[in-house]
């Protein structure tokens, strides 16, 4: 059962329609603050901003095709120590929403008083290439019309091109557009909190409206298509990157700056083991390691770092691609992490970001499982 309302979009002005809705959340006192992507005055970027004055909503640009960071990290920064005591709306992309759900499970986000709003996502460009998009005098409204073509637009971020869920799996309110004619949009309430918010704004809530049903049918087809495409894609990746020799070639350009870890929304450890004293060794230990093989690559443990990260966060990898965006040497990280992530998640029957109540695979177990590993 889908509860939704129609969002009036006049002359294809999606940005204006969404901003009107967001502003209403303020004026009707549903929220007191809002974390939302706002156009940077330079025109070079659109950055998440915490807004307390509704007048500033006019500069919001939710559909601007740029994703500088995974915003779940920002929500974490805001709510890790204390939950917010004022109602705060958080407007984020589906991958950011999934990461936020994982961070709730990891006790990094306290969701009290947050109203999550997510969107059908047409993808985004890198921060580096976004200025080119605006230089062509294109707007987010243009992008919404031509977007939703993740596989075809090779200028999109690498993560977007192989996205599995470009639509929200959870969120209090979904701004739905996929599969609808240009200029049509719905506001879907997925929780009682979301429904109450829409009602306060004066929206008429329909159950299983024509638009909602149309979008759902389109999403079902999309999900099947994406699954099929990703299966083929990963089979190719395995051929291309599989095996220790090819893997070493991929990581040959790694400088172990650990930007990928820093940018990853799931890698939440305050002190990663790789910057801890575990890897701060006396000189003779390095020399002994070198003696074993004749020589060792320095900085040491490059592949160990990446393989360990795969083990630690692979099950929660949402495929946002922040790692690859942060890599100074263009290592195809999202390909690799989504390859291992999707296969491990399948093994554990787990979808990161699907449900905040679902336990993390590493935090639970069943007595009868994986018996092929321990038995003779």
């Amino acid at each position: 059962m889908t509860k939704s309302a129609t969002l009036e979009v006049k002359d294809g002005k999606v940005r204006q329609a969404i901003n009107g809705f967001l502003k209403d959340l303020f004026t009707k006192k549903v929220v007191d603050a809002m974390l939302v992507p706002v156009a940077h005055p330079s025109g070079k970027n659109v950055v998440q901003s915490l807004i307390s004055d509704p007048a500033n909503i006019d500069k919001a640009d939710v559909y601007a095709p740029v994703m500088p960071v995974n915003s779940a990290k920002i929500v974490q920064q805001m709510t890790r120590l204390t939950p917010t005591d004022r109602k705060t709306a958080v407007v984020i992309r589906p991958c950011e929403m999934r990461a936020a759900v994982e961070l709730i499970k990891l006790k990094q986000i306290q969701p009290d008083n947050l109203l999550f709003i997510s969107v059908d996502c047409p993808g985004a460009y890198s921060v580096k290439s976004y200025p080119k998009f605006t230089a062509d005098k294109k707007t987010s409204d243009d992008f919404v019309k031509t977007g939703f073509k993740w596989a075809e637009d090779t200028n999109l971020r690498a993560g977007c091109q192989i996205c599995e869920y470009p639509y929200p799996l959870t969120a209090d309110i979904t701004i739905g557009m996929y599969g609808l004619e240009p200029g049509k949009a719905i506001l879907q309430a997925n929780t009682t909190q979301g429904e109450a918010a829409l009602k306060t704004l004066g929206f008429a809530i329909d159950t299983d409206s024509e638009l909602a049903k149309k979008r759902e049918a389109a999403l079902a087809k999309l999900a099947a298509d994406l699954k099929e495409r990703r299966k083929k894609f990963f089979a190719e990746v395995k051929k291309e990157l599989g095996g220790i020799d090819k893997l070493m070639q991929v990581f040959a350009s790694c400088i172990k700056c650990q930007n990928c870890r820093q940018a990853c929304p799931i890698c939440y450890c305050r002190e990663c083991v790789f910057i801890s004293p575990t890897f701060e060794l006396e000189s003779d230990k390095y020399l002994r390691q070198a003696e074993k093989k004749g020589s060792i690559r320095m900085p040491a443990d490059t592949l160990l770092f990446h393989l360990t990260r795969m083990n630690h966060m692979g099950n929660s990898c949402v495929g946002c691609g922040a790692c690859e965006e942060a890599c100074p040497n263009d290592i195809p990280l999202v390909k690799l992490f989504q390859l291992i992530g999707s296969e491990a998640q399948e093994l554990f029957g787990y979808v990161p970001g699907r449900n905040a109540e679902e336990p993390l695979p590493a935090s639970t177990f069943r007595e009868k499982e994986f018996e092929w590993i321990g038995e003779k």
Binding site: K238, L241, G242, G243, I244, D245, K246, L247, M248, A252, V273, Q289, K292, K293, G294, S295, I296, R297, D301, T302, L303, L304, L307, T308, M310, N311, H312, G314, N315, L336, L339, I340, E343, A344, L347, F348, P361, A362, F365, R366, E367, E369, F370, I373, G374, E375, K376
Partner: protein
């Protein structure tokens, strides 16, 4: 000089649970059970404490195989550490499969404190299997 397959002596790192497999190793020793000396034991308090990182570190630093020995399911000294170990190793093995690495060099076995002969038998098995597999390409790669 490169080792030929005949001369190849596998290097195996073992993470042994203090409460079971490490005791089984003791029992194997006191009962004079014969097994090859290729496995270098590291005693840990529970198989559940073995982060995949340590297994990886061993494999990337020269080990041809790694074994993790824990209590039989249901018998963990800490109630559920071995179940958690099994999930961690399942994850590690799956990642190896996905990346085209050799998951057969990672062994998880349940060996209780009273199973001295089983311990000796397993060490013979892992040594022979690893000898058949030959030197691990990961172990000798200096660029890892």
């Amino acid at each position: 000089m490169a080792e030929t397959k005949e001369q190849f002596e596998p290097k195996i790192i073992g993470f042994l649970c203090n409460w079971c497999t490490a005791s089984a190793a003791d029992l194997a020793g006191t009962t004079r059970a014969q097994y090859p000396p290729n496995m270098h034991p590291i005693r840990v308090m529970c198989s559940g404490t073995v982060d995949p990182m340590y297994v990886l570190k061993a494999l990337l630093s020269g080990a041809d195989a790694v074994m993790i020995g824990g209590c039989h399911p249901g018998d963990c000294h800490y109630v559920s550490g071995n179940y958690k170990a099994r999930r961690k190793i399942a994850m590690l093995k799956q990642i190896f499969k996905s990346l085209g690495l050799d998951e057969n060099r990672i062994w998880l076995r349940w060996i209780s404190a009273s199973e001295g002969p089983e311990f000796a038998k397993f060490i013979r098995q892992i040594t022979e299997e690893t000898r058949k597999q030959g030197p691990s390409p990961m172990a000798s790669d200096w660029t890892v």
